[in-house]
């Protein structure tokens, strides 16, 4: 759960005491709604949060914005010397510790972006740039930038953009726009005041790159894997397991 707060947040006795002014918090609740941990997101800076995505390993990717140096647990992002607002992102592990935190871009006019994760634990972000452009960023599991792609508008950026990754590693981009938007040379023109677009980005994460949360180190036959009743064939030792919404898919090289 992600939220904005003034000075901190309290959930069932668990809570944070943040600095005065705009703050943000992140909390993890169990299935019954009981908070497991609450973290203050960005001490020492004017921080807001925009979106949250959870990957298959239970790690949480948070996107937000800040002004000044922001401390996220034991990591510092941004600089007190820079007065410009910037987008930031952080990855929280299931136990509430921070794997990485980083600034993404410094811009004048911030607009909420989106974040999503794929099966490999990579994270994708959208954020507006100065002027009429939106950037799509792919960060690897460790927070390293894999690629950036931009698209432009003829006037103002649209109100919202959304990202969703498919189980095959493709990424959907959707949003609204005024007048015109240029997507790789394909110019869309709004029929009215604003229109909606949907686009599919080619996959840059091969299914072979998807990382198993628990690598196979023992003979596969001893693993507590539940096979569908109709499939009794043994799983090859070089099989790759891809979690899907319907269970697990096995691919053999």
């Amino acid at each position: 759960m992600l939220g904005d707060s003034e000075g901190g947040a309290q959930l069932d006795g668990l809570g944070t005491s943040g600095a005065p002014g705009p703050n943000a918090f992140l909390a993890k609740l169990d299935a019954t709604g009981h908070p497991l941990w609450v973290r203050h997101f960005g001490v020492g800076a004017k921080v807001g949060v925009t979106r949250l995505a959870v990957d298959l390993e239970g790690a949480c990717i948070v996107s937000g914005y800040a002004q000044g140096a922001a401390r996220i647990e034991n990591l510092v992002v941004g600089s007190a010397a820079k007065l410009e607002s910037y987008y930031l992102a952080a990855k929280y592990l299931p136990d509430g510790s921070v794997a990485w935190a980083r600034d993404l871009a410094y811009v004048k006019d911030l607009k909420p972006g989106d974040v999503c994760t794929d099966l490999g634990g990579n994270a994708y972000f959208t954020h507006t740039l100065d002027g009429a452009a939106v950037s799509i960023l792919k960060l690897g599991r460790g927070g390293d930038v894999q690629w950036e792609k931009r698209y432009t508008f003829s006037s103002l950026p649209g109100r919202r953009t959304f990202l969703q990754a498919s189980s095959e590693g493709f990424v959907y981009l959707a949003g609204d726009y005024y007048s015109n938007v240029d997507l790789d040379g394909r110019t869309l023109t709004s029929r009215g005041y604003s229109d909606i677009f949907v686009a599919l980005l080619e996959a840059t994460t091969s299914p072979w790159d998807f990382v198993r949360p628990n690598p196979i180190t023992k003979p596969v036959a001893t693993m507590p894997v539940v096979n569908p009743p109709s499939i009794q064939a043994p799983i090859a030792s070089n099989a790759m397991i891809i979690p899907t919404s319907r269970g697990r898919m096995y691919i053999t090289k």
Binding site: Q146, A174, D176, G192, D195, V198, L200, L201, E202
Partner: protein, 213 residues
Amino acid sequence: MMWKMVCGAVLFASCFALHAASVPAFRWVKSFGGAGYDVIKAVAVDHHSGICIVGASSGDSTIAPRDNAARFDFSGELIWATQLGTSGARVVDLSVDGSGKFYALCAASGTNTIAGLRVENAARTTCGIIVTLDHHGKALNAVLLQGGEEFEPFALRVDAAGHCFGPATATGIPMPERARRSREPLLERPAPKAGTSGITPSKRPNVRTRRLA
């Protein structure tokens, strides 16, 4: 010397090609809307790797009027589109469960027909409505999230088993009471009496399929 230059050029070109190949291109792009405004509210990937969206239109969108929902398959074909909101209802968010069911969260006041279901809110205050559609866009049921006073939902997430979670601002009665109410399948109740809240299926299904230009 020439050999080194050729090798350098090949190396540079291969590095550039590798970098260029790592940035993905758009496989397909679709656009829709009407003469007024059209804004997007939320998206979700379904169990067949298609994309579901909900948005709002000033009334004459090319896929469905007013607040609407649509599903595109992996190749970008429009599978179905349906009107969700009427004058008193607006769509807020959506989510998809593991079986491909589509859950649209709406905020509404008064009596509305949402995706073919007539939803009666006799309390005359703002309430939340979760409408469940199957992967063909047919409305299955609707659940009313109602409180003593105002109830303003603003997000919805559904797990693989179809359990709904979501924050809301509310006044009147405590949130746990609302959460229990939200699990009640109101469509399975007896028909509501006059002056009470309830949901009844409309006779006219409001789902249509239209191919985009």
